[in-house]
Symmetry: C2
Subunit: 384 residues, 2 copies
């Protein structure tokens, strides 16, 4: 195997573009100096389109979970009644955070691999009028499901005054996100997925409506107090020492987004999703989710007649190709292919081509090249 | 198209491994200081196996052509009778250098795409007993031919006292090379091909027999005087300012060679050659060279029914995949795929998968996936 080559195709962290690596390698600067102010001033307006918002997007140095916790501690207080829509491991995490802070937490559980039905959320809210906030996951990384966030938000607003709080960690930057238009009140994402950075930053924005709640919220919080981030960001600053290398990198990520155009970024992700799905379909290996619920950033595959762990081990040994396994009760039952961020249709062909070899190596009698062909056909159909 | 992704698959420069990039990014050091001495002392013994020699391999800061010129000006003098075996553009370059320095140059021309027949070289030398040196190309980059250097050297030694001087630029580091055992008197290579570095260094070693000639050679030379490099290298130094970043990188390249094992490096290149060739064969697109003459580092393809330039343009536009065109009279008639250095079987699958799409995009009615399948079969046959 070629040393130094790692085909990192897990659903995050995702590979870093070379120009972002170089940007991050810049020498440190003082985080209270003029250069950092200028850097933040450059970043600030350009993050908004990624979230689809006119609001400022705050940057917290921490991993995605700190962003989820920020969303919780700023918007609800102990004893508040909240609804958490759980479609997988990350919905579960949102619920655990709410429970830790002693919310009266309703867990709205959906079968893993399915998306939530907004109508059911609406019905739930109609029978639970005291709910202050609805927490939902946009892309559920553990299952490769993209929940219909626009429709969920609409359903919530139609039936209650609850805030709509969304975990967008594994898709924002790779999937169209229109926070303002869709009525999302709080949106969180992380740096290490479709944002093409190492983990270490979390991004969060809040609606006017949410800010009113945040302002008056009595939950003690210090590092994760969004008001501090907002007040500082207005002066192009951060309340605490920021992860500067990641800010250097973020600036270059925004350059890349602008070079490609966000519309094209999203189209590329949808294309990679279709290529990946059609490849496994052609190979006769079942997908965990149906087409409607599928995420453009990660595909979960649920083989019926071989152990996913055998395939993962084999492609790792043969090609240093990393794909992810299942989490919690899906452990050992699925594998997940990340196709997000710095990933191209050519990379999908490489994933499929090597996995076809891996399938044969573990003894599965597939016809070589037919997954590749299916992916190629999707590409050609799109580029007629 | 994904910005920042360039699938560089020309026959050099080749992509740089990330750890080599990082090594090259080290801060400068004084080139007369102890650290540089230590660096050269580390590099020196580890370059020898790459050449297959017990001799010191000298490092000159310059591109491959400066290495070829070094070979000429150190071994022959104006008026000397030399034979240059020409199987493509780089054999031609060797001849031009000899002619520039006013050697009595015999051009032994072989049809481009074929390898030289050692027996014919032997016959030529038997009828030209005055020849002082035979210049030959190991891998002819312009045609993807690997000449039978061992047999050529044997033929020369069997019929004359001429020195055997070999251009190994596009294969040393990727193809087995046993300078001492095979009786190569002077061997040259460059940094930007199978050596996985940017261009800027050329490596050259000479046999005992060659050193006697070099010592007494009266051709004026200053920067390219091999004696200066030898005398300095004995003290772990260079006569002139070396390209230090490239030396940092070279040290890491040698680490990678040792990590993989040179035998495995060579096996990987042969595998990539076979995968590439079988893919195009399955697609019904003719190869320029036959299997016996094929180089493990570069494959030339000579389509009969479409313009190579159309395919090159299309895969560049669709995937930012760069493959090379033809040189001199093969311009517009062939395309060349580099599979050397930092390149893996998984990368070959990516090249083939994207080129299949490109072929359809230019209107060639190939069956999608069958080139990929052929390459996969080669891989599986090798890894049973």
């Amino acid at each position: 195997m070629l040393p130094d080559q790692h085909l990192l195709r897990i659903p995050g962290p995702s590979p870093i573009p070379p120009s972002v690596e170089r940007a991050m390698a810049q020498p440190m600067i003082g985080h209270r100096g003029q250069e950092t102010k200028e850097l933040l001033a450059t970043i600030r307006p350009r993050l908004k389109p990624v979230f689809g918002t006119e609001q400022d997007v705050m940057i917290i140095t921490g991993s995605g979970t700190s962003g989820l916790e920020t969303a919780v501690v700023n918007t609800v207080e102990p004893g508040d009644e909240v609804l958490v829509v759980i479609t997988g491991a990350f919905g579960d995490r949102f619920a655990k955070i709410c429970e830790t802070y002693q919310m009266r937490t309703h867990r709205f559980e959906v079968e893993w691999g399915s998306a939530v039905d907004p109508e059911e959320v609406k019905q739930f809210l109609e029978t639970h009028p005291g709910i202050k906030a609805v927490f939902a996951t946009y892309c559920e990384t553990s299952t490769g499901v993209l929940n219909p966030i626009r429709e969920i938000a609409r359903a919530v607003h139609a039936s209650s005054d609850a805030l709509v709080i969304v975990d967008g960690v594994s898709c924002v930057g790779g999937v169209q996100t229109r926070m303002d238009d869709w009525g999302i009140d709080v949106l969180v994402t992380g740096s290490q997925k479709a944002m093409m950075l190492p983990a270490g930053l979390t991004f969060i924005a809040a609606s006017e409506r949410a800010w009113q709640v945040i302002e008056s919220n009595k939950q003690p919080r210090f590092y994760l107090d969004l008001r501090k981030y907002r007040d500082n960001l207005e002066k192009n600053a951060t309340p605490f020492t920021p992860g500067l290398s990641l800010l250097f990198g973020l600036n270059q990520v925004l350059n890349l987004f602008e070079e490609e155009g966000l519309k094209n970024v999203y189209a590329r992700h949808r294309l990679m999703m279709k290529m990946t799905r059609e490849a496994f379909r052609a190979l006769g290996i079942p997908l965990l989710t149906n087409d409607e619920a599928a995420s453009p950033t990660v595909t979960a595959v649920k083989p019926g007649d071989f152990a996913p762990e055998d395939l993962r081990k084999t492609v790792k040994q043969s090609f240093n190709l990393s794909v992810a396994g299942g989490q919690q009760h899906l452990q050992g039952k699925i594998f997940r292919v990340g196709h997000m961020g710095y990933c191209s249709p050519a990379d999908v062909l490489q994933i499929v081509g090597t996995m076809e070899i891996g399938l044969r190596q573990i003894g599965k009698d597939i016809e070589l090249g037919i997954g590749t062909r299916a992916a190629q056909q999707v590409y050609l159909e799109k580029h007629k």
